[in-house]
């Protein structure tokens, strides 16, 4: 959930089938969902987040930049990403999933549109889709969440600056900061034990259980 949420429009799913859809038996096993970003300039994609619903494999395509007036070519940036290790069973069927820029096969710096290709080869499920899709772009850099440059750009050949004797490693302190922030986040979250008082000022007179 890093970065800024980009408002998107998820078009209705299109089923892909071979042959005449009216006469053929069985349910479609490939669905295509287009995600557009109306009124938003091409942006750098950071993260795609969604809730799975019985999709086994996911592929994602983006249109390749072409000069105007030529039909755009679609490039695959994620191929057959497995969401359900066993398509016939429940594992992974309703999980929340995040996909990040570094997992993509192509450049995601100027994204105009996304095409999600959902596959579910098992005939056992009545339907499948992905829900609550959210797209995030690169957000403003916050001090606790950035890694030092040499860590996030490993292609560079330069040697990391050797740390001087006795000084703490700056990378460690930034990671510790991040962990500390997460700790505070957990502290704020709901906990049953906080409501677990035994009684109210010595009184535990109860009549009936509540159904809500």
């Amino acid at each position: 959930m890093s970065g800024l949420l980009v408002p998107c429009h998820v078009k209705s799913t299109v089923a892909l089938k071979v042959g005449d859809m009216r006469t053929s038996q069985g349910r479609p096993d490939v669905l295509v969902v287009d995600v557009t970003f109306p009124n938003v300039a091409p942006f750098e994609l950071q993260e795609i987040m969604f809730k799975n619903y019985y999709t086994a494999f996911l592929s994602i395509c983006v249109p390749q930049h072409t000069p105007l007036h030529t039909p755009s070519k679609w490039v695959t940036c994620l191929r057959d990403y497995c969401l359900m290790p066993d398509p016939h069973s429940e594992e992974g069927a309703q999980e929340y999933v995040s996909l990040f820029k570094h997992q993509m096969l192509c450049d995601m710096t100027r994204v105009l549109e996304l095409r999600l290709i959902l596959q579910q080869p098992s005939p056992l499920w009545l339907s499948f889709t992905v829900e609550e899709a959210q797209i995030y772009q690169q957000g403003p850099k916050s001090p606790s969440l950035t890694f030092p440059k040499w860590l996030s750009h490993p292609v560079s050949n330069e040697q990391p600056v050797p740390s001087l004797e006795g000084l703490p490693d700056p990378r460690v302190s930034s990671e510790v900061q991040q962990i500390w922030a997460l700790t505070e986040m957990f502290r704020a979250s709901h906990s049953y034990t906080r409501m677990g008082r035994f009684d109210m000022d010595g009184c535990y007179d109860l009549n009936l259980l509540s159904y809500t």
Partner: protein
């Protein structure tokens, strides 16, 4: 790479948060302050010296054990966007089924209260309090009149609910397909097959020594038993939870079992401040009293509520009389949120053989409950949950004993109807105690209840010849009525490693 690092940070943060509220944290802080007096602690290298001190004095090991315990008990933090109910149970239809089941139980309890005109809870009048204090140690022999009370539910009621569990997105048609399951459970959870079980339970293999097999009287103790006991003693000296858990997969020597279980469950040796309603001075040791004391305290222990974060069940709520609907006056009922069922005390009974101090017995039981036993009576998709265990049992039988399975089905004796009660009670009350404890050793060692389903299938395999000749459910029940002579480890070993598949 970045994803793995952020996942790890999330796990670390969660564990740190959990441990910050614990007794251990307070103790570590006190120790750190106290050790500042020591000469070897220098200001220039304060952090390193304190860490070194913790290592030498054994406190680091205690912290390691606590972290290991957290990793074992709490599920890994899920996606940051996942709501808390997703951590309890990821599948929506299972959550709904658990909710409906709970509502049925609540209705049943409420109607019982109304019928008998008694409130759910009220403060004991002073006279009754005094009486309870006096009789604390003899409670088992002088019960209040419970003849009008029915058990809230029995395992077979729960089985009916599980049988009717359906995924609305699943092809539940009548036509036979490659995935038709002939058993009672009709939800497509992932269960292991025998090759996967062999990999998982590799220490139960034919070439590895086992207590329960290689300590029998015919086998000279020099071959395995003596060495195994020696290693067990070493593990206890080291006080390492992870090592103990690995060790106990081959079974625990009787003399070391109490301490090993306490080490694996990370139970401290100091008596904890349990909210006892009465003192526990010298008592006359009778199991019935023990069970009563333990379960009474258990029902009032609000620390048990913590496990509902990862249990698909939720604690029933009530309001202080006259304050219906006002959240400030909401409490959980019972205070620990767990409504017991018929036979619940069987989870405690075997532990009475191991622990004689009440606080230790209580802590072990509580930890066993919030790690394992709660999964046996709530509806969830967890691999150790009762639904998965039932499906695992039926799948093993259907796959590896198809003739037997088909025969029993034909005569109206669905195997799960017989084995369900064994699994729900983790075989307590059905096996001889020494055999039961060997089985529970493996539950602790593998941190999983799947062994219960494997044993149930192994029992059917063992009595297959007799079962093939029966012609009714009653006759099948009779063949499997008495498990008290069974030796669990040979049964498991043969079923997993010696059956031709």
């Amino acid at each position: 790479m970045l994803q793995e690092e952020s996942d790890l940070s999330l796990v670390i943060a969660q564990i740190v948060q959990k441990l910050k509220g614990s007794n251990l944290y307070a103790q570590l802080e006190r120790q750190a302050w106290a050790c500042l007096q020591r000469p070897e602690i220098r200001l220039e290298s304060l952090k390193e010296d304190i860490k070194e001190f913790f290592k030498i004095s054994g406190w680091e090991k205690k912290l390691q054990n606590a972290v290991y315990s957290e990793l074992n008990v709490y599920p890994l933090p899920s996606h940051p966007s996942a709501p808390p109910e997703h951590l309890k149970e990821p599948l929506v239809y299972m959550r709904k089924a658990q909710g409906s089941w709970e509502k049925r139980i609540l209705k049943s309890l409420n109607s019982m209260c109304t019928e008998l005109s008694i409130p759910l809870a009220r403060k004991r009048p002073v006279g009754e309090q005094k009486e309870l204090l006096n009789k604390w140690n003899e409670m088992g022999t002088d019960e209040p009149d419970l003849s009008l009370f029915r058990p809230v539910y029995a395992p077979k009621d729960f089985l009916e609910v599980l049988i009717n569990l359906r995924n609305p997105n699943y092809e539940n048609g009548d036509s036979l397909s490659f995935r038709t399951h002939l058993g009672l459970i009709q939800v497509p959870l992932k269960v292991k097959d025998i090759p996967e079980l062999k990999e998982c339970f590799v220490e139960l293999g034919l070439t590895t020594g086992q207590l329960g097999i290689d300590d029998s009287t015919q086998v000279p103790p020099e071959l395995f038993e003596n060495e195994h006991v020696r290693i067990g003693q070493k593990v206890l000296v080291q006080q390492d939870s992870a090592a103990a858990q690995q060790y106990i997969r081959q079974g625990s020597p009787t003399a070391l079992r109490a301490e090993l279980w306490a080490l694996i469950l990370n139970i401290s040796s100091q008596p904890e401040d349990v909210k006892l309603t009465a003192s526990n001075d010298d008592y006359y040791f009778v199991f019935e009293d023990y069970l009563y004391q333990v379960l009474l305290c258990f029902s009032r222990d609000t620390s048990v509520l913590g496990h509902f974060a990862y249990n698909s069940a939720s604690p029933p709520k009530s309001y202080i009389r006259g304050k219906l609907g006002l959240e400030e006056y909401a409490v959980f009922y019972p205070p620990n949120g767990v409504i017991p069922f018929h036979g619940f005390s069987m989870y405690v009974a075997p532990l009475c053989f191991l622990y004689h101090e009440p606080y230790k017995l209580y802590q072990i039981f509580r930890e066993m409950y919030v790690r394992f036993f709660f999964r046996l009576h709530s509806i969830s998709s967890h691999p150790s949950g009762i639904v998965s265990l039932c499906l695992l049992f039926e799948t093993l039988l259907q796959t590896y004993l198809p003739q037997l399975f088909y025969h029993l089905r034909e005569i109206g004796a669905q195997p799960l109807r017989i084995s369900f009660k064994w699994m729900v009670r983790a075989f307590s009350g059905y096996l001889a105690t020494d055999q039961l404890l060997l089985l529970w050793d493996r539950i602790l060692g593998y941190n999983s209840l799947e062994i219960l389903a494997v044993l149930a299938a192994a029992v059917f395999a063992f009595r297959a010849v007799n079962l093939m000749e029966v012609t009714s459910l009653a006759a099948a029940e009779a063949v499997l009525a008495d498990l008290s002579t069974l030796k669990v480890m040979p049964l498991l070993q043969i079923f997993l490693f010696a059956t031709v598949t």
